[in-house]
Amino acid sequence: MKQTITEKIISKHADCNVKAGDVVFVNVDRAFVQDGTGPLTMDVIKDIGDAVKNPVKNCIFLDHASPSSKYELSDSHNKLRKYAEKYGINIFEVGDGICHQIMAENFIKPGEIVVGADSHTCMAGAFGAFASGFGSTDIAYAMATGKMWLRVPSAIKVELIGELKKPSMAKDVILYLIGKLGANGANYKTLEFTGDGVEKLSFESRLTICNMAIEAGAKNGIMLADEKTYSYIKKERGEELNFEVLNSDIDAEYEDIISVDLSQIVPQVSMPHLVDNVKTVSEVQKEDIKINQAVIGTCTGGRLEDLTVAAEVLSGKKVADGVRLVICPASKKIYKQAIDKGLLKVFIESGGFIVTPGCGPCVGIQGGVLGTGEVCVSTANRNFKGRMGCTDSYIYLASPATVAASALAGRIVNP
């Protein structure tokens, strides 16, 4: 049967062979919520049976209000802590880090079905898992029953060829692709990344690319598991998994095939107020866009590799007057690694400050809310109007290298 890797994974979990367009119930390996979506989920679970099927396979993450900035959010946290205890669900505390990063560090395995009440759940597809974001009620159903209904997506094949040339980074690749596809160019579809280009990318870079699949409207982003996947798992968890090869069939069917030559990718920037409003930094540099804030971090650009590149750019230099440089490691683990590597010293000496691992700066809750008319360049994944807490503000998305260089220049510039 001619199947894509996504169709194969769903087939295994549905106990029947599926093709794109089929609607099936699947067994879910892992389900999680965060502190913005979790309270609704817990209310629904209480209402539909008051129990969770496989609590050990589920997680609650207190990552959006990390730490809380308002009493209502603190109350939500306490509600989630109570439910975690009642149902036996794993709970990750304020300061532990962002859900997607912690899932990557601790849990995701190739071939799994992972569902989360957060749209960037697709990041886990870098492991060769089927990972997708849903709403609170859907996740309540998944947690209560261990199942989810899915419509099997058709796929777009994205062939990555060659190797990135410095200073281009994985973020530039995915921004370029979203610019080409459009914000709903991959609506309901799988973005299947293949090619020697994927093999050459570091595992952390793969996570960045899959993280933003949803910004092209995709149901999931996926890459094949290979030696780098298993090395990452061994390094992060000390686990040696059996190497299982799960690949798309040679004659699997795709809606479209896109080729991207990584060696030709130059730094990109996503302009306000839509993610697919992508230009090259060279074009934007001409517009002399002054910035008030630079954010290096979040689930898209807050891993050790990202912070290391940013520190290389910033080392020995000072950010421009009037620029706030926010550093947001994606997890406590990365925060500690960054300390050990001397990166935080570099950030502080260049004029930056470190915030708690979490989503705060990205979603306009805390850690760097913008003021009226302000401009921010960020390694995050969304720049919708008002996203960072103020309607009349402007968010540009870019790679850690570009953001670091821009922080030094006080305007958006090439790294």
Binding site: V23, G36, T37, P39, L40, V44, D47, I48, H64, A65, S69, K70, E72, L73, D75, S76, K79, A117, D118, S119, G133, F134, G135, S136, T137, D138, Y141, W149, A183, N184, N187, Y188, I214, G217, K219, L274, V363, G364, I365, V369, R382, F384, K385, G386, R387, M388, G389, C390, T391
Partner: protein, 161 residues
């Protein structure tokens, strides 16, 4: 599902994101839907809540609800009394969430619908009649699981059935 819904059209453009529908600066109000709903679509139209009556429609272009998985986005639209969201196309998570919480969401070409038009939507027949313009627009009826879930009033009710 109601046979016929009638109300005024409140028209928006393309790419109405979940940040426009449910802004992040009100994140702390998620535990208080009534309060949160006062800010529905605020960053797309600050007067939306004021001018919307129960039964009215949200009408939009492409990729309505793009962005976050926050279920609060369709929830607060429903809380405002909106009878249905009609758009050229929906972002996948928003569409699924809308059906799951019992907010009717339907796809059609919305180019000929203008702000303030009086509409009659017949969901099962797949027709929108514009009383204001006299035009009749075909709309894709919900089918299968989507129909069943919406008809039950949302996923929670559907599961309990």
């Amino acid at each position: 599902m109601k046979k016929e819904l009638r109300g005024k059209a409140h028209v928006f453009g393309d790419s109405i994101s979940t940040d426009l529908i449910c802004p992040g600066r009100y994140f702390h109000l998620r535990s208080n839907i009534k309060e949160l709903a006062k800010h529905t679509l605020e960053d797309a139209d600050k007067d939306f809540v004021k001018k919307t009556n129960p039964g009215d429609f949200v009408v939009a272009g492409d990729n309505f609800g793009c962005g976050s998985s926050r279920e609060h986005a369709p929830i607060i639209i429903k809380e405002c009394g909106v009878g249905a969201v009609i758009a050229k196309s929906f972002a996948r998570i928003f569409f699924r969430n809308a059906i799951n919480i019992g907010l009717l969401a339907m796809e059609c070409n919305t180019e000929d619908i203008n702000e303030g038009d009086e509409l009659i939507l017949k969901p099962s027949e797949g027709i929108i009649e514009s009383i204001t313009s006299g035009k009749e627009i075909k709309v894709k009826p919900l089918t299968g699981a989507m129909y069943d879930i919406l008809n039950a009033g949302g996923l929670k009710n559907y599961i309990k059935m």
